[in-house]
Symmetry: C2
Subunit: 613 residues, 2 copies
C-alpha cells in the first residue's frame, strides 16, 4: 500500500476540524461537492504524489535540465508525473466548470497540492505556475485568448510561466527594459512585438508540455520612442512559445529563445532560464524579428494584473516551503525512532542498558517539536489563506471584503514565514540525522537545499517586510489589522476557558496588544523611512504572532473535539497541544525581541558609513 | 598583486591591537620570534592561500574524491596546494623546535590558518587533522613512534586522521566495537591487531601524502574475551596505512581498506571514508589478518588522550566555520557595492534618479552588519582561545591553570558559536546576492553547504551543550566561570568610561549577572537531568553572552587606539563600533529568551509521548 507524503490525519484535522471545509462546501458555488468528493481527491492526490512525484525526487536533483539544440530537456520522469497529475484533474481542480474546471474549493485544491509539494517541490512548480497563469488569463484576458491559451493549461496540455525579472532589474520592476512595439491586431487582440531579456524564468522552457504560455511584463514606448520610467509604464503580454489558434501566425515558432540555464543549489528539477525575446536570429514569425505577444489589460496596467498571479504564487511558495519542512520533519521522526544511540540523561554515568532510540533524548525531541511547530504551523497558515481565497470569491457577499482584506495582510506572512521557518525545520531535520543527514544518501540535505530558494524568489524576505509594514500597515487605514485582531481575540476568548491554554491565551493577547500599540506609535511618529528600515524585524514579529494565534486556535480545536479518540487519535491531539505549548514556551518570547528592535528605530543601518564594512 | 582571503587589517587588529601578540612573544618559549616574523608568516600565508587554495575551491566541489582500485583519488590541485602549504612551513609552525617546528605561538599559527580556511576549508582539513594528530603523538607517544610518525607529519609528508565513530556508534563512543588484540611488541612499542569499522573518517584515504597515520580508538578484550562496556574500556592506537620504520612489518601495507566514500552536501574536497580494519582480504602484514597498531597511553586510557586532539579539533572546526562565514561576508560586501537595484526608501514614490547600489538599502546593511558581527565575532572568539593555548602551555607559571580552565569552559562555545552563526552568516550572504546567490556561479551557495557540516562533526551542537552545561558548569566547582566573569567585568569597567559604550557595558553586566544567578539556581535545584534537557538553550545564551563581551572588548580597543587614523583606518574602527552596536541592539536581547527557557526548565521534552510526533 502506498504511503502518502502527508499523513491523512494531518490534512484532515486542518481541513475538517480546524478550517471547517464543510462550511465552504455549503456555498452555492461548491454545491456539486461534498466531503466525500474532497476526501477522494485528497486520497488520490496522496497516492499519485507518492507513486509518480516522490520516486524521481533525487534523480531530478542529479540530472539537471540541459539544452539540446536550443531546446531544454528535463527528466522524462517529470513529464510522466505531470501527465498523471493532469489525469486525475489536478490542473482543473480549482477552476470554474465553465472553463473546464472541477470547481473545487481553493482550500481543497491546496490540501491536495500539499501532497505533491511534499513529494517533489521542483516538479510541482510546473503546474503551480501553469495554474496561476491560467487563472490570470481567465480573469483578465479576452475569450479568444482564454480559449487558445488558458483552456489547454487547465487541461494540463500547455504549461505557463511568469516573466518579470530582467538581469539588470531583479526585484525592481520599475527598471525593466523589455520593449513591446505595437504590431496591429488579430483575433487574439492587440498584437505587439517584444524585444528584451527575462531572467529567472522557472519552466521558461521544457519538453514536457505541448506549448508554453509566457506572461511577460514589458513597456510600450511612448510617442517619443522612449520607455516610460517607473512601474506605470508596464504592460502585460501573452507570448506563447508556439503561436496559437487565432493568431495571424498560428503554428509558427515564436521569437523566444533560451539564452541559458541557471544552475542552482536546489530546486534543480525546475528548469530555470534566461529567455531572449525578439532576437530574430532563430525564429521570425511572419518573417520578422520580434516575439509576438498579445496585450492583456490596458497599456500601463500590467503590474496590478500581474500581481494577481504574483500574490497567488507567493502563497504557493509558502505552501511549497511548508511541505519541504513537513517532509523533513516526518523523515526526522522516522529516523529518530529507528536510530539507537546514547543513554538517558539521568543514567549517563555507569549505565548498563543498551543504547536507546534517539527520540528518547530530550534535545532530539526539542529538534522534532520545533520542526513540528514550524512545518505544521506553516501548513496551517497557508491553508488558512486558501480558505480566505474561497471566502473572498465565493462566500456570502457581506464577508468578501473582509476576507480579501485579511488575505492581503497575510500574504507576505504566508510567503515568508513558511520559507524562513520551513528552512529552519529542514536544518533541524539534518541535525537529527547527524552525519548521515549531511550525506546525499538521505533526502534531508536536498530538502534543505531546495527550501533555501523560498526566502528569495517571488519577492525576498526583505521585500515582503516592506510590503507588510509599508503598504499593508503604515499606508493602510488599519481595517485589515483590525479584522485580524478580532479573529485573534476570538481565539483568546475560547482558549482562556481551557485550563491548559489559559496562560497562552493571556500571552497572545498581550503580544497583539503590543503589536497594535507599536503600529499606532509608528504611524504617529511619521518618518516612514525610519520605520521601514526595521521592516524585516516587523515581519518576523508579526509572522510569529500570527502563527502563535493559529497554534493556539489549533490547540483549542484539538482540545475540544467531541468525538472520543482512540489511542492513535489521542496521541495526535496531544501532539497538537504539545506543539502549541512548545510554540508559546520557546517561540513567542522571541516576538518581544523583534518588536523591541522595531520600536527602537535604531538609525544604525541608515547612518553607517558603507566604507565601514 | 594577490589579494589574501582575509584582510590584513582584520587579522592585525585582532592579533596586535586586541590580543597583544607582543605579550606572547615576550614569553621565553617564543624568544626567536618578533612581530616581523609573525607578520611575514601571515603575509605569505595569505598569498599562498590565495594562489593555491582558493583557485580549486569550486573544482574540488565538482570533482569529488573517488575510488580507483581501492585507493582514494583526490583532485591533484589539492595535493599541489598542500605541498605549497608544507613548503612555507605551515605544518611545522606551532611545533617545538626539537621536533622540527618553528615554535610560533598558537595564536599566530591560527591566524595564518584562518587564511587557508577562508580560501578552502575542505583542503585545509587535511593539515588541520594532521597537525592535531602529530601534536597528540608528540605529547603522549614514545620517541620511536614520534620519530616514525609525528616528524613526517610535521614535515608535511605524512597526513593524519582521527578514527573514533563507528556506523552503529556515532557520538556514543562507549558503544564502539573495534577490537584490539595484543600481538607482542617491537621497537615502536606494544603492538596490537585491530578489527572493526570506522565511519566518517576525514582524510581516511587520499593520494596526496606518502603515508597516513590513523589514530584509532578500540577496545582491548578482557581476560574473558569480552569488551569492557563504557568508555573506560577504550584505548588509543597508532595505525599507519603503510607500516613505518621500527615496526616488525616496516614497509608493508597495513590491513586497512576503504569500504566506501561518503558523498556529502559540502566539504567535498575532504575525502570522507568508511574504513575497515583487519578484514585480511587485501593486506596481511606479516602474513596475518588484522590491522597492526601501536598503543599510545595505557590500556583503557584512550579517551582522555584522544580528547586532547578532539578539543583542539573542536576549536579548529570553529575557526573553519568562522572563516566560511567571513568569506561569504566579504563576497556579500563586494556584491552589494557593485549591484545596483531599487531606489532609496525615502524616495520610493516618483523617484527619478537611477537605481542605487544595494549597499545603500538599510535592510541590505542589516544583512551585512549581521554577517560582520557573526563572522568577525567568531574569528575573535577562536583566536582568543588560541591565545589561551599559548598562555596555558608557555605563559608565566602562575597564569597557566587559569588559562587552561578558561579554555576548557570556552571550548564548546568556540566550536559551536562559529558553526551556528557562521552558517547563519552564509545564509545571509546568499540573501544579499538574491537569485544569483542561489546559483552555482557564485561561491556563497557552496560556503553555505560547506558550513552546514560544522554544527555536526566533532560533536554536535547538542553534545557541546551537554558538555558546557554538564561537565563545565553543573559538575564544575565554578572556578572557570568565575575566571570568565572577572574578565567580562574588566571589560565592563573599561567600556563604561566610554560614552558610546556605557549602555552596552551596563547591558553586559546585567546579562552576566543573570547567567551567574541562573547557574546558582540550577545547582541549587538539583535534578541535573531536568536542567540538561535545556542544555542547548543554555549554550545559545552563554555563547551570545561571550561574544557580546568580546565585541564590547573589541569596541573598547577600537575606540581607544592612540594612533591617529587615516580615512581607511577610521572607517575600519567605525566598523568595529558599528558591529558592536549591532550586536547589543539586535543580538543581546535574544539572550534573555534563551535564559528564560533554561530557567523555566519546562518538562515538555521529557514528558511528551513519542507517539505524539
Amino acid at each position: 500500500m502506498t504511503t502518502p507524503p502527508v499523513r491523512a490525519r494531518d490534512l484532515g484535522f486542518l481541513l475538517h476540524d480546524w478550517l471547517s471545509l464543510e462550511g465552504l462546501l455549503a456555498y452555492p458555488h461548491f454545491q456539486d461537492h461534498g466531503r466525500e468528493t474532497v476526501d477522494a481527491m485528497l486520497d488520490i492526490a496522496g497516492r499519485v504524489a507518492a507513486d509518480t512525484f516522490l520516486p524521481h525526487y533525487k534523480a531530478a536533483d542529479q540530472h539537471e535540465p540541459h539544452l539540446v539544440d536550443g531546446q531544454v530537456r528535463i527528466l522524462p520522469a517529470i513529464r510522466q508525473a505531470l501527465a498523471a497529475y493532469a489525469e486525475i484533474g489536478m490542473f482543473a481542480a480549482p477552476f470554474d466548470a465553465e472553463v473546464g474546471g472541477l470547481q473545487l474549493p481553493h482550500l481543497a485544491y491546496s490540501a491536495a497540492m500539499a501532497q505533491f509539494m511534499a513529494a517533489n517541490v521542483a516538479t510541482a512548480a510546473y503546474p503551480m505556475l501553469t495554474m496561476g497563469n491560467a487563472e490570470l488569463l481567465v480573469r483578465y484576458a479576452g475569450a479568444a485568448l482564454v480559449r487558445a491559451c488558458a483552456l489547454p493549461e487547465i487541461q494540463g496540455r500547455y504549461f505557463g510561466t511568469m516573466c518579470l525579472s530582467e538581469p539588470q532589474a531583479g526585484s525592481s520592476l520599475a527598471d525593466i527594459a523589455t520593449r513591446a512595439v505595437p504590431d496591429g491586431s488579430d483575433e487574439l487582440g492587440p498584437r505587439y512585438r517584444l524585444f528584451g531579456n527575462k531572467m529567472w524564468i522557472s519552466g521558461g522552457d521544457q519538453d514536457a508540455s505541448e506549448n508554453i504560455v509566457h506572461l511577460v511584463l514589458a513597456k510600450v514606448p511612448g510617442p517619443d520612442g522612449k520607455l516610460i520610467p517607473g512601474t506605470q509604464g508596464i504592460s502585460l503580454f501573452v507570448v506563447p512559445k508556439v503561436l496559437v489558434d487565432g493568431s495571424a501566425f498560428a503554428g509558427q515558432r515564436n521569437d523566444v529563445v533560451v539564452a541559458g540555464l541557471n544552475h542552482k543549489m536546489g530546486y534543480r528539477g525546475t528548469a530555470n532560464c534566461l529567455l531572449n525575446f525578439g532576437e530574430g536570429a532563430h525564429h521570425r514569425p511572419g518573417g520578422e524579428a520580434g516575439a509576438v505577444g498579445y496585450r492583456v489589460g490596458g497599456v500601463g496596467q500590467g503590474l496590478p494584473i500581474m500581481f494577481q498571479m504574483m500574490n497567488s504564487a507567493r502563497i504557493s511558495v509558502g505552501l511549497g516551503a511548508a511541505m519541504l519542512g513537513y517532509r523533513g520533519y516526518r523523515l526526522a521522526v522516522d529516523y529518530a525512532r529507528d536510530r539507537r544511540q546514547g543513554r538517558p540523561l539521568a543514567a549517563q554515568k555507569g549505565a548498563t542498558g543498551g543504547p536507546v532510540a534517539i527520540i528518547d533524548h530530550p534535545d532530539v525531541r526539542r529538534l522534532l517539536l520545533a520542526q513540528k511547530a514550524y512545518a505544521e504551523g506553516a501548513l496551517a497558515l497557508v491553508l488558512y489563506c486558501a480558505r480566505l481565497v474561497d471566502e473572498e470569491r465565493h462566500g456570502p457577499a457581506e464577508g468578501r471584503t473582509e476576507a480579501g482584506s485579511l488575505l492581503g495582510l497575510l500574504t507576505p506572512v504566508a510567503k515568508t514565514w513558511p520559507a524562513e521557518w520551513g528552512l529552519a525545520a529542514n536544518d533541524l531535520a539534518i541535525q537529527v540525522h547527524g552525519g548521515y543527514g549531511y550525506t546525499r544518501d538521505f533526502d534531508v540535505e536536498q530538502l534543505y537545499r531546495d527550501n533555501r530558494l523560498n526566502p528569495i524568489h517571488e519577492g525576498t524576505t526583505g521585500i515582503q517586510g516592506l510590503d507588510l509594514m509599508g503598504r499593508k500597515t503604515l499606508r493602510d487605514d488599519g481595517a485589515s489589522l483590525a479584522i485580524l485582531r478580532r479573529r485573534v481575540q476570538a481565539t483568546v476568548e475560547r482558549a482562556r476557558r481551557l485550563p491548559a491554554l489559559a496562560d497562552f491565551a493571556h500571552a497572545l493577547e498581550v503580544t497583539w496588544a503590543r503589536i497594535g500599540a507599536l503600529v499606532g506609535h509608528l504611524k504617529a511618529a511619521g518618518d516612514d523611512a525610519a520605520s521601514l528600515a526595521q521592516a524585516t524585524s516587523f515581519l518576523s514579529a508579526f509572522g510569529h504572532a500570527v502563527v502563535a494565534w493559529q497554534w493556539l486556535d489549533q490547540a483549542v480545536v484539538a482540545g475540544t473535539l467531541d468525538v472520543a479518540p482512540d489511542a492513535e487519535e489521542a496521541a495526535f491531539r496531544s501532539g497538537k497541544l504539545a506543539a502549541c505549548r512548545f510554540f508559546f514556551e520557546t517561540e513567542v518570547p522571541r516576538i518581544d525581541v523583534w518588536l523591541g528592535i522595531v520600536g527602537r528605530r535604531s538609525d544604525l543601518t541608515q547612518t553607517i558609513d558603507p566604507a565601514a564594512f
